[in-house]
Amino acid sequence: MENSNQSISKRNYATQPKANYPDYRSTVLRHQKHELVVLPQSIADMTSPVFGHMSLGDKDHDLIINYAPTGKSAIGERISVFGKVLDESGRPVSNALIEVWQANAGGRYRHKNDSYLAPLDPNFGGCGRCLTDSDGNYSFRTIKPGPYPWPNGGNDWRPAHIHFSIFGQAFAQRLITQMYFEGDPHVEICPIVQSIGDARAIEQLVARLDMAQSVPMDLRAYRFDIVLRGPNATMFENN
């Protein structure tokens, strides 16, 4: 991946979550109260660490087996997740490192701070990673995570979700988000999701069942495309 060394379009906050969203209780003491200070972009923002040549393990993209002993696999609905990473001009972002993490099929994370009643799956770790190809495509295999309750002052349950961390070609494109599943009734009642005020931006976080990529007698596929910021429209036209 080459650094773009190109300015990135300004973030459109209308399609981003509010930093202060009291229905998501943890934001109350953690959101900045001052306005963000707007800076012109410098090379620090237009460049990014490059992981395209990083050697990934051959099971890094397969959460079904990457924690299990040979011959074993994780419990749950077998799925693949695939899609394309683009920038806002529609250009594919190649060699982008994507890291994913999630709860197991029962909604339990393999994390020392998670004490939910649902048991750990001895064959499921909960993380994986992959790189986009030259056309921006990525894919990984996993099991569908379960919904789970969380302490937010009420009867709060997270929709089933997979966390995504994505490195673009500029540090200003750095993004962490969550992917949800088509048809999940928790999406519209989750404060974390609803901190995004824009219905279409929420829709953009919902992966869709893709029967063409589903593998008969093996797994179902979900498509989830991702858009990163930029490049700056004026710069792009000039190039």
């Binding site: 399609t15 953690r30 099971k59 020392k112 029967m211 858009v227």
Partner: protein, 202 residues
């Protein structure tokens, strides 16, 4: 009403989830278990990655240490933050830029990195910028990652002429300065409060 045949429907590709014109995918919080995805070995999830991804390259020489804590409102120490650092090398090159990732200690809240002093860089217009390290912070309760910068007090002469620092209200500039401590630097981050750190929109 779906008029396609069953054969078509049961092999149909998904439509893209994207909206047009294309808009940046909305951010969502990294949540309290960010370590599983980004630093799994650090929380005992061993055997998936041989090592956690904590830097983009090995630094032969990393003479400076920066450590600190992150505080939320009411002065409470945050113990579930992930921090990423992106900086020029000692010569001011981003082709050899240094990226590091760490988290605040789950018990103490302290973070610490070893690195090089970044070199000066210039704007496209040729203005010199004082050396700094970009810091990107994500965690539970942060719907979007937040960006700040670490500057160093020994560069005061450059900082006073710095066109970016000039955009920061004078009374808040000190929140961006690392404090010399025990041969290294201390850099605390206040998400709220009287000493709220300056966060940037670039």
């Amino acid at each position: 009403m779906d008029m396609d045949s069953l054969d078509i429907r049961r092999t149909r590709p998904a439509k893209s989830n994207l909206i047009t014109p294309l808009r940046e995918t909305a951010s969502q919080t990294a949540g309290p278990y960010v370590h599983i995805g980004c630093l799994p070995n650090s929380v005992g999830v061993k055997g998936i990655y041989s090592n956690d991804l904590i830097s983009n390259r090995l630094l032969a020489d990393a003479p400076i240490t920066i450590s600190g804590k992150v505080f939320e409102g009411e002065g409470i120490v945050c113990r579930d933050m992930m921090l990423e650092f992106w900086q020029a090398d000692e010569r001011g090159s981003y082709d050899n830029g240094i990226w590091q990732r760490t988290s605040t200690n789950l018990e103490t809240g302290l973070f610490s990195i070893k690195t090089q002093m970044p070199g000066k860089i210039s704007t496209a217009e040729g203005c010199v910028l004082a050396p700094f390290i970009s810091v990107w912070i994500t965690a539970r309760g942060l719907n979007l990652g937040i960006l700040t910068r670490i500057y160093f007090p020994e560069h005061e002469n450059v900082i006073t002429q710095d066109p970016h620092m000039a955009l920061v209200p004078e009374s808040r500039r000190s929140t961006l300065l690392a404090q010399p401590l025990d041969g290294g630097y201390r850099f605390d981050i206040h998400l709220q409060g009287a000493a709220e750190t300056v966060f940037f929109d670039v």
